[in-house]
Point group: C2
Chain length 122, copies 2
Amino acid sequence: MYTEKVMDHFQHPRNVGEIENASGVGTVGNAKCGDIMRIYLDIDDNQIIRDVKFKTFGCGAAVATSSMATEMVKGKSVQEAMEVTNKAVMEALDGLPPVKVHCSLLAEEAIHAALWDYAEKH
Amino acid sequence: MYTEKVMDHFQHPRNVGEIENASGVGTVGNAKCGDIMRIYLDIDDNQIIRDVKFKTFGCGAAVATSSMATEMVKGKSVQEAMEVTNKAVMEALDGLPPVKVHCSLLAEEAIHAALWDYAEKH
Ligand code: FES
């Protein structure tokens, strides 16, 4: 049912945690399953994402997509991070079952919310 | 949104893992969210549950209820374990939000499936 990459990122999630005094924080909820996700961004003066962490109450698919999505935005500029789509994250994981696609939206939405939070503060 | 007990069992889940040569194994899926759960039982000659482990791809609510449910059946007889309901597990966790009740069913169903598997073999 799940690809090797999904299982790898589910069992060994990257970037789990919090960032104190983060440059931007995004919290989103999933209406379909009631799960929540929070993403913390540490962005330097050149608008490069130096560090990123996430926390979620979501399922394995939410964990795996957040793990992959945070890896994909780390080291990128704010502009580049805005362009990392949910579709690109799923492709990087070699796909997700259709019933789990809504879980992957949490990561994309939380990153956008955190970038928005950063933009508002700067 | 979540009680202290739910957060405790989500962040420090008890009995995660597998049991080799288990006396009974139960695997169930949740049609509502597509998540899966597996429970392993180690049952001695007096039909007492000596050990129990679980693995799930489910969300935090599934993790917390499985953690609590496995604690509740450990050391019990097969007969007593059959009577541990989803409702009792949710009460022991001081409740779950309505949108997450379906997640808690995974643990009860997987325990029943594992007890059934054990019964078939004996
Ligand atoms: S949403 Fe699937 S187990 Fe909770």
